[in-house]
Symmetry: C2
Subunit: 254 residues, 2 copies
């Protein structure tokens, strides 16, 4: 089987954060698969067929892409950020495992990307400079109580949290409930950042305390990444410019 399938990370949005490796894979592709807005980020050109699909259609999209690669196409499945973080890489391998034996012989290459969380962290300072956990707040694919358990366990262990998929029209109350739950293990003044549409023209970054964030979850949306600091997190005040937030490398011992 000669087909090839690239799972490509497009980064957070800024074209200057697309790697040369990702650009080279996109330049070779005959077929492009992905969620509509990500497919739209790749310029049209002769010889490239774009197959945009809906947000929730990951497995069907992965199967269509694999079938096309099995026919001999050079297929690129695109994700925003890094494809291995709550994105298409898992869906592709899930489809491979459940699919025809022949799909296992395909040349599948995952091409990493600048994740939304690293792009957002870079804007803020270095909030992820110490141990951290990365958790999706979507309860579509895991039980809500497990999610609460994970959040509290990670926060109680002193890990900084980066939360993906904090809120959507179909999941309007989860973020507030999650922050309230974190209030049982973290101090009210724990720093929280809502980083939205990072590197895009409408980028918006808000510094809040845990208490403030819990009361202001309507300021987050599908394109928001939420950071929750620890007792160690430091904030550097600046005159006339946004503060810097960072995680010190060392943990203070009482």
């Amino acid at each position: 089987m000669t087909g090839r399938l690239y799972v490509v990370g497009l980064g957070p949005g800024d074209a200057a954060l697309v790697t040369p490796q990702a650009a080279a894979a996109l330049a070779q592709a005959s077929d492009l698969y992905g969620y509509f807005p990500y497919v739209a980020r790749v310029a049209e050109r002769p010889g490239l067929t774009r197959h945009g699909s809906d947000n929730r259609a990951e497995i069907a999209r992965a199967r269509a892409a694999l079938a096309r690669a099995a026919e001999g196409g050079v297929v690129a499945v695109v994700s925003g950020g890094d494809p291995g973080v709550f994105a298409m890489a898992s869906a592709v391998f899930e489809a491979v495992e459940q699919g025809p034996e022949a799909w296992r012989t395909l040349d599948i290459q995952v091409i990493p990307g600048i994740s939304a969380m690293f792009a957002a962290a870079a804007r803020i300072g270095a909030p992820l400079g110490a141990d951290f956990a990365v958790i999706s707040l979507s309860d579509n694919l895991k039980p809500w109580n497990l999610l609460l358990f994970r959040l509290a366990a990670a926060a109680a262990a002193g890990l900084v949290l980066a939360l993906y998929n904090p809120i959507s029209r179909a999941r309007p109350w989860q973020l507030r409930a999650a922050l309230k739950h974190l209030g049982t293990v973290l101090a009210p003044e724990t720093p929280v950042v809502f980083a939205s549409a990072v590197t895009r023209p409408d980028e918006r970054i808000e510094y809040l305390s845990l208490t403030e964030a819990t009361m202001a979850t309507e300021r987050a949306d599908m394109r928001t990444l939420v950071f929750i600091g620890t007792a160690e997190t430091r904030r550097i005040a600046r005159a006339g410019a946004p503060d810097w937030l960072y995680a010190p490398r060392a943990v203070r011992v009482p």
Copy 2:
């Protein structure tokens, strides 16, 4: 104050994974600061002074770089991978907070990079496709017992683990002790991957069980990233090619 300081992520090693934004910052720099092997990855050119330093000298290096920027230099502080993950961004902001007030007015920009963990994950499949924790195994900057507590808490909560700095000449026994401790909360057959020198000519990726890994920690070194899966992690066997490992998007409910 007109000086500028970029904290630049060089990615895991492959030049095709250096972003155009990182390349542009490096092209502007008058002075380059970093650990010797990272500085060596940036080509010499007229007008660029390279200031390599030792591995453990992060704060001193950050201060020297900030002082140079305060004199009006265009400074690039380079890290492998992403500068916000156990790398120079935290050290720079720590030095800013402790340094002269004037350093707060510097134009400091963190430029994200492809982290070693995402490059390694891409090679393996999608081991980080679900909730995960990123933990440095160095006990230079935090108490060993806190580290064990974090590892067990994250593993018991069902998070995939990505372990940085697993082993070094000065810290030879920590990885085995950490894996043994994880054996108290994870099954012996839990998948472990040692991913070394990813994207470099001497790249080496080894699939082990937790039991095997505990007995084979000498196969890891300073350039190894260790992944530890969960009960959910899936492995796709392939004939004549390395297996794929991935974290399914959904958590099975018993």
